[in-house]
């Protein structure tokens, strides 16, 4: 598992991904962590197949007892089917996820971890002195969906928005935006169902100061590529699977 520090200040943002031992037919995912002085938040910690390499990689940055929080942007198995194993490893941790998905996510096993339901209008995750904003992103793509924004690190974790499906081992940042477009087009057109939801999200995200836009699949966007992505996404027609 590749470990990349994407922000280093009074605390860190870390990206885990590009696992070389990932089974071939399983979609590649990016996991993120926010590591503060005494706490660690795992963001979309991944599928059950990824649990062992993921925990092993996190032990590079935090001891088990300081992994205090998990966040699931939505309910998909590549996001959080590892929950039953985290539940055994971190019995005192909290899971922040949509209240709407609670009855569904508990199927993965959640006997010990405390489920903190997120209301539809979002909220905040506090870690020591760091406040991470929970931004609603409903219908992008799941019916209850959230992204995270850290105004201090200027990182926006955008879930499936900005995702691209690429071969294993590609760089973690977009290097040439124009050539990256075709790797994102089908994914967004097919998985994102609502033009209205997209417009609301774009308006909201354009107001934020973002240095890094970090999706759950593919490469991250930094600097001017963040605005390029928002412009491209705004102009893209989505919800394309309906045929007369």
């Amino acid at each position: 598992m590749k470990i990349t520090k994407i922000y280093e200040g009074a605390y860190q943002w870390i990206m885990y991904g590009r696992d070389p031992n990932k089974p071939e037919k399983i979609i590649d995912t990016n996991q993120y962590a926010v590591r503060t002085k005494k706490r660690c938040l795992l963001i979309d910690p991944g599928g059950v197949e990824l649990f062992a390499p993921m925990l092993s990689a996190v032990l590079h940055d935090a001891p088990v007892e300081e992994i205090t929080d998990l966040f699931a942007s939505h309910q998909d198995p590549d996001i959080i089917s590892s929950l039953g194993l985290w539940d055994q490893a971190l019995p005192n941790a909290k899971l922040h996820a949509s209240g709407l998905w609670e009855g569904f996510l508990r199927h993965f096993g959640c006997e010990n971890i405390e489920y903190i339901p997120i209301a539809d209008n979002g909220g905040v995750i506090s870690l020591d002195n760091v406040e991470i904003q929970i931004v609603p992103a409903h219908y992008l793509h799941a019916s209850a969906n959230f992204h995270l924004y850290d105004p201090e690190a200027k990182i926006f974790m955008s879930g499936d928005v900005g995702a691209a499906l690429e071969p294993a081992g590609v760089p973690v940042f977009v290097e040439d935006f124009d050539s990256h477009i075709e790797k994102m087009r089908f994914f967004h057109q097919r998985w994102m169902p609502s033009e209205q939801a997209k417009r609301v999200w774009i308006d909201k995200v354009r107001d934020l100061e973002i240095d890094i836009l970090a999706p759950q699949h593919g490469r991250m966007f930094q600097g001017d590529d963040v605005k390029r992505f928002l412009d491209w996404f705004e102009g893209l027609q989505i919800g394309m699977a309906i045929k007369n």
């Binding site: 990689a57 088990v64 194993l85 055994q88």
Partner: protein, 207 residues
């Protein structure tokens, strides 16, 4: 987790789940016996003196059916609990084997030693869960053995019923049919319960 462990887990799930299907068939048959008892009582009443010996037998048949239904209800609840324990055991073992894997792959990580506590806790949880599972399995096997007793008694009652029926004149056919029905039901219960026992006998969890 290796393939053998995965296959074992699968066979446990199938074995425990298959009991529910067999028990539901036992319940149906027990209800049939109850119906046969009511039928026998009506015939014996009509036959009067000619079926005097048959009347107490109908009460026995009814008691037997009630006893079987109660036992099967208990066993069903126990089988459901065993299924929950199977799920728990599967989760606990899965977690323990994954943690072991993490421990092996993290020896060079800065915080590798912090895994010791969760690893030990997972092992204890897994062993406790297996112990509870094994205890529950033994109890269920005992209950299945218990339900064989009324089934055996039913066969004896069926044999007595045939003798009594032979003295019931024109009611012979009706009472013989009752005896046959009880005998058949007892055989089906015996067969289904045996199936449950053999399904469970494949389970072997090391504790």
């Amino acid at each position: 987790m290796n393939t053998m462990k995965v296959n074992n887990a699968k066979s446990h799930f199938v074995a425990v789940a298959s009991i529910a299907a067999e028990l539901s068939a036992v319940m149906e048959v027990a209800k049939e016996i109850s119906l046969a008892a009511a039928n026998a009582k009506a015939i014996a009443f009509r036959a009067g003196e000619k079926a005097k010996g048959f009347q107490p037998i109908t009460d026995f048949i009814n008691e037997l059916a009630k006893e079987t239904i109660e036992l099967v209800n208990d066993i069903n609840q126990h089988a459901f609990r065993l299924y929950q324990l199977t799920v728990n055991e599967h989760r606990m073992s899965g977690a323990y084997y994954k943690f072991e894997q993490v421990a092996q792959n993290s020896t060079k990580m800065h915080y590798a030693s912090s895994l010791t506590k969760p690893l030990n806790r997972a092992k204890i949880n897994m062993l406790e869960c297996r112990k509870e599972f094994n205890q529950s399995l033994s109890r269920l096997l005992e209950q299945l053995a218990e339900v064989m007793h009324p089934a055996r008694a039913a066969r004896v009652i069926a044999a007595n019923s045939r003798i009594e029926a032979s003295q019931a004149g024109e009611y012979l056919q009706g009472l013989q049919a009752v005896a046959e029905s009880v005998d058949h039901a007892a055989q089906v219960i015996h067969e289904k319960v045996q199936k449950c026992r053999s399904a469970l006998s494949v389970i072997n969890l090391d504790s």
